[in-house]
């Protein structure tokens, strides 16, 4: 399998004593569904945001398709960000705007300023946005304001926005942590479909091992900013589980 991302010695230090990531090495293959596990504060969000440089790494290198991304600036940096769609726990949509405009905003990286002032004039752009809205099953809500949608629907809008980027990788930061179990599974199914049908590489942090087992093709785990596990989901037994979540943790509580 061809590798798409190579993370070498990635370190992020916030304040002098807050080391969110310590010398993390991960290789991600094209087309993988990589699940990121770890306790709260273990550095999952920081790792994901270093990949599209929403957070600047302190040291270490990231290669995307052999290209070193850690020094890119300006237009080159924006071009790399375009290749990473991102989905967030809090959805991070623009609540006052319609589903359509929110989805179109995923394409901003390819639009000039004036085009982004009048996005609805571009027929081709609008029809592509509508296709992506249809893919997440929200065609009936195209012109609804996002704030009037349920949490699960909002996360699907966020997925459509990410799709609009025509991304090679989707970074999902606890995409289902604020949804109920049934809705969570629906949203995960959409991510699974993008992975299988479009071959989009997915890196997704999760809190539920059951979801990791169901959707992940590989799992990596962080603990206090260090990589403590890398393998297939079924390799996580009692011992490994406790290595990730601590001595006292029991899987029943995490499910």
């Amino acid at each position: 399998m061809a590798e798409i991302l190579e993370i070498r010695g990635l370190t992020k230090t916030f304040a002098a004593d807050v080391q969110a990531l310590k010398e993390v090495d991960i290789t991600v293959n094209r087309g993988e569904f990589l699940v990121l596990l770890g306790l709260s504060g273990s550095g999952k969000s920081t790792l994901l945001r270093c990949l599209n440089r929403l957070i600047e790494p302190t040291s270490g290198d990231i290669y995307f398709d052999q290209q070193r991304t850690t020094d890119l600036q300006g237009a080159e940096l924006r071009a790399i960000r375009r290749k990473f769609g991102m989905v967030y726990q809090q959805f991070n949509l623009i609540n006052n705007l319609s589903v359509l405009v929110n989805v179109i905003s995923g394409n901003l990286g390819r639009m000039g300023f004036w085009q982004s002032v009048f996005p609805l004039r571009n027929k081709e752009l609008v029809s592509r946005a509508k296709e992506n809205i249809a893919r997440v099953g929200l065609s009936d809500f195209t012109h609804t304001r996002v704030k009037n949608l349920s949490g699960g629907q909002q996360q699907r809008v966020a997925i459509a926005r990410a799709l609009m980027q025509e991304p090679e990788v989707i970074l999902a930061d606890e995409p289902v942590a604020s949804l109920d179990p049934a809705t969570a599974d629906t949203v995960m199914q959409y991510l699974g479909k993008l992975n299988k049908e479009d071959g989009i590489t997915i890196i997704c942090s999760l809190h539920f091992l059951s979801l990791a087992r169901k959707y992940g093709s590989r799992v990596v785990a962080l603990k206090n900013g260090e990589l403590v596990f890398s393998g297939t989901p079924d390799m996580i037994d009692e011992t490994r589980f406790q290595a990730i979540y601590g001595e006292d943790a029991q899987e029943v509580e995490i499910r």
Binding site: N52, I80, M86, Y88, N92, S105, L108, G109, F113
Partner: protein, 328 residues
């Protein structure tokens, strides 16, 4: 460090108290009589209170053991009471409060009161045109202030400016200027502009505009600092440029509060326009000043009614619109 701060506070308060006492004795504060005894008193009082670990300065710097004690069993507690009392007494004397003037002087207001009850309606037309001048100058000042305040507010929002040297410099510069221009009252600006462009509504408009730019910049930029950062991050993550991030993630979040603030500002500007007019800024305020100088109380009465009605209507309209906007 806390100790030093508390000593400085105590010294300032003791000096103030000594000054008050000497003023009460002489009814005039002469530096030569104050300097030696006053400073000796202040130093002694500060030293005394600090030695007993019981002073206002220590209260302010949150000395735990002192704050636990009963208020009236502490020296500092009593000192606070005495300071408040002496301030009241000194204030009473300086302000020349005179109850009998207040009660007996009411007779002198007969002219105004009768003017209020029988306003000179023959003057309604010219006064209405002066009133229109006031409303228009307030409106124009508000509208012309919007684009400036809009742009400045982005540059004066901490969460949007890059944390570089230049970013900080621009932030501090705009914030400081806005604070300065706001703390100079519109009346003062009106006096300046009356000299600059001559007496009339244009001077009043400029005064209100300067003041509005400063006030709106502050309100707007605080609004930007309160936005939800999530969408900003998400739009940035799509590969958008800074301008696109502002357009998509910032502006939709601030638009309706901006409108609400702006309408509120127009409301304030109509009120201020009458005052600004009084010092030469045109409109109904200028008319009020002229009629009052000529003691034409029936015209003054008419003007006061007109101002009250307009402000009442403005208040109602702007309140309604703002309530609508807040729901959005």
């Amino acid at each position: 460090m806390k100790r030093t701060t508390s000593i400085i506070i105590d010294f300032i308060l003791s000096t103030y108290f000594a000054g008050s006492l000497i003023f009460l004795i002489n009814l005039i504060l002469v530096w030569s009589t104050f300097l030696i005894p006053g400073l000796i008193f202040a130093v002694a009082a500060t030293f005394f209170m600090q030695v007993f670990n019981d002073s206002i300065g220590l209260r302010i710097s949150e000395n735990k053991t002192l704050l636990k004690r009963k208020f009236f069993s502490t020296i500092s507690g009593w000192f606070i009471i005495i300071l408040l009392l002496s301030t009241m007494v000194v204030g009473w004397i300086i302000v020349e409060v005179n109850i009998s003037d207040f009660l007996l002087g009411i007779n002198n207001t007969r002219g105004i009161v009768s003017g209020l009850f029988s306003p000179n309606l023959k003057n309604l037309v010219p006064m209405l045109s002066a009133l229109a001048e006031t409303i228009y100058l307030a409106l124009l000042a508000t509208i012309l202030a919007i684009p400036f305040a809009f742009i400045f507010s982005f540059l004066a929002a901490r969460n949007l400016m890059p944390k570089s040297f230049l970013g900080n410099l621009i932030y501090i510069l705009i914030r400081t200027l806005a604070t300065f221009f706001r703390s100079v009252e519109a009346v003062i600006w009106a006096i300046i502009f009356c000299v600059w462009v001559g007496i009339g509504p244009f001077a009043g408009m400029l005064a209100l505009m300067i003041h509005s730019i400063a006030a709106l910049t502050k309100l707007y930029s605080e609004q930007i600092e309160n936005i939800d950062h999530g969408p900003v991050e998400a739009i940035k993550g799509t590969g958008a440029t800074t301008l696109q991030i502002w357009l998509y993630a910032v502006i939709p979040q601030i638009l309706s509060p901006y409108l609400a603030f702006t309408i509120y500002r127009w409301d304030i500007n109509v009120r201020m326009a009458t005052i600004v007019g009084f010092v030469g800024g045109g409109g109904i305020g200028l008319a009020l000043q002229q009629e009052q100088q000529l003691l034409r109380w029936h015209n003054v009465g008419l003007i006061i009614w007109l101002i009250a009605i307009v402000i009442w209507i403005m208040d109602m309209i702007s309140g309604k619109i703002r309530a609508r906007l807040m729901e959005m």
